[in-house]
């Protein structure tokens, strides 16, 4: 199966501190992958590299391809990285909304990559794009706030605007950095349902970092776990046993980190419908 994301030998150092070590990753098109790991393990940093928002080390920094096109190699971004980015939706952990613009304008920004340069630069969004943005807002339940300033929204509302922006972008790949961190259970379920939906129906590739492993188990068939900047696990979700999680997050053994522990410990009961994604050959 064709690769959506292909990472080879990615290393990243901030100052004197290396936070990613020779990372290898291969995400096939149409997969929905949960990226898990303790706080500070490098999840956000990895995602930022995937979309070319951060560049890897200059020496032995590795290469990243998305949809067959090179995003960066050895710390140098490709020339057409901006074009490729329009096919990669990104939901930021800190939302990264433009606080002084209205909610609708923020969502419309998602269209920028797919419209003519001039029209985008002048902010002349057409009726179809506006409709698309309003639909995205409706999908996250914020239609009524369309004309409010983004900075006056509650935390969860801002996160949903960020999600709507990505929906509006209609990208092939969606990178979601803790998209449900600030959401109530029902909104979280809605968002995860939406992600699962576009993954299943539209065949888009989704990589989502999640702290709530329960959601990973419920929505993703595949998981990648990071620990201290190294890939610790890359396989079917059923591999996330309680024992494994305790090891991953550094908890004492015997602690239950899953609320749905009746599932995780009985991975043998998982149906084979969890598609086995081939693991990357380094």
């Amino acid at each position: 199966m064709a690769s959506a994301i292909q990472v080879q030998n990615l290393s990243k150092t901030f100052g004197s501190k290396q936070v990613l070590f020779n990372m290898e990753l291969n995400v096939p098109k149409g997969a929905m992958v949960a990226l898990i790991g303790a706080s500070g393990s490098g999840k956000s940093t990895l995602l930022r590299h995937l979309s070319g928002l951060a560049s890897a080390d200059r020496t032995n920094g590795g290469t990243i391809h998305a949809l067959g096109q090179q995003i960066q190699g050895n710390g140098h971004l490709s020339r057409d990285v901006r074009r490729i980015r329009s096919d990669i939706g990104y939901i930021f952990q800190q939302f990264n909304l433009v606080g002084r613009l209205s909610v609708l304008q923020n969502v419309l920004l998602g269209c920028l990559g797919r419209m003519s340069r001039l029209r985008g630069t002048l902010g002349l969004f057409n009726a179809e794009e506006k409709e698309r943005a309003l639909h995205a807002l409706e999908r996250v339940g914020l239609l009524e706030h369309a004309y409010r300033r983004a900075s006056t929204l509650s935390g969860g509302q801002q996160q949903r605007v960020a999600i709507a922006r990505t929906l509006c972008q209609q990208a092939e790949i969606i990178l979601a950095d803790e998209p449900i961190a600030s959401l109530d259970p029902e909104s979280a379920r809605n968002v995860m349902d939406a992600l699962a939906d576009i993954n299943k129906k539209d065949g888009k590739t989704v990589i989502v970092t999640l702290h709530q492993v329960d959601y990973a188990v419920k929505y993703c068939k595949h998981a990648v776990a990071l620990k201290n900047g190294k890939k610790h696990f890359d396989g079917p979700i059923s591999g996330l046993t309680n024992h494994f999680l305790n090891d991953l997050y550094g908890a004492e053994l015997g602690t239950s980190l899953l609320f749905s522990d009746h599932q995780a410990d009985k991975e043998e009961r998982h149906e084979p419908m969890f598609r086995q994604v081939e693991r990357k050959v380094a």
Binding site: R82, G89, Q94, N96, G99, R100, G113, G120, T121
Partner: protein, 264 residues
């Protein structure tokens, strides 16, 4: 409370604190050295403070006999300042963005910054004469001279506002595949808007209040009137002119506050 159980290296990086210590030391040396040059002598200030009061008393009561003239010249100054500032804003926005280290690479921002330094450094009198020989004496030459000087200042201030923005929203825009220009328009400008407005109105105000360059090329303006009044020892008139300038500046300042509130 127990003692810390983890044994991690908690030494503050010594390089930075040493550097800042050095910096402060240097600063103190410069202060002391300048104390000589500036012939600082605060005692004197108290000794003859009576003179100051006496001199200040000369300014009262303000003499508003010629207020019509003052107002007329004030309005001319404002008109000239409007165009000088508007042109400077139009030129200053792109130049300011091109001088921002966090937006463009150094081999663009450094040359542009040096150019702006030159615009600020070159005396307005020189610009004024430059334009006089082309367009003749009068307000237009003053406007053009103001324009160049103000561009240098605004580009610098604009750039430094851009350099202190939150990079998050810009990345948010970037991630949608936007072009570099679009990043600036949708990610940068909304963030710096309140500051930019305050800079523009600050420069407008300072063009209104002094605009000596405008006077030098024969365009009139309130600055020349004030100058003449002081030279003629007409302190009552000077006080009247100053009051008019203070009112104009206060009004601009209040508009500035309103406008920024609109954008904050």
């Amino acid at each position: 409370m127990t003692t810390l159980t983890s044994q991690v290296n908690l030494q503050k990086p010594p390089r930075k604190s040493l550097l800042s210590l050095l910096g402060w030391g240097l600063f103190l040396v410069i202060l002391a050295w300048s104390w000589q040059g500036a012939e600082m002598n605060p005692a004197q200030l108290w000794k003859d403070a009576g003179n100051m009061a006496e001199f200040a008393a000369d300014f009262f009561p303000p003499d508003f006999t010629d207020w019509r003239l003052y107002l007329h010249e004030m309005i001319i100054t404002i008109q000239i300042a409007v165009w000088g500032t508007v042109l400077a804003v139009i030129a200053g926005i792109p130049l300011g963005i091109l001088s921002s280290a966090n937006i463009v690479p150094w081999w663009i921002n450094q040359p542009v910054r040096r150019l702006m330094d030159a615009l600020r450094s070159i005396n307005e009198m020189v610009f004024a004469m430059l334009f006089v020989v082309a367009v003749g004496l009068g307000p237009f030459a003053g406007t053009l001279a103001l324009f160049l000087g103000t561009t240098g200042v605004l580009a610098k201030l604009f750039a430094e506002a851009v350099e202190s923005i939150d990079p998050g929203p810009v990345e948010g825009v970037r991630a949608t595949g936007a072009s570099a220009l679009q990043e600036v328009i949708f990610g940068v400008i909304p963030q710096v808007m309140p500051l930019w407005i305050s800079y523009v109105l600050y420069r407008f105000e300072s063009n209104v209040r002094s605009a000596t360059v405008v006077g030098m090329v024969g365009a009139g303006g309130i600055g020349v009137l004030l100058w003449e009044a002081i030279r003629g020892f007409q302190f009552g008139q000077s006080a009247a002119i100053l009051l008019i300038i203070i009112v104009a500046v206060s009004v601009i300042d209040m508009i500035s506050q309103r406008l920024r509130r609109f954008f904050i």
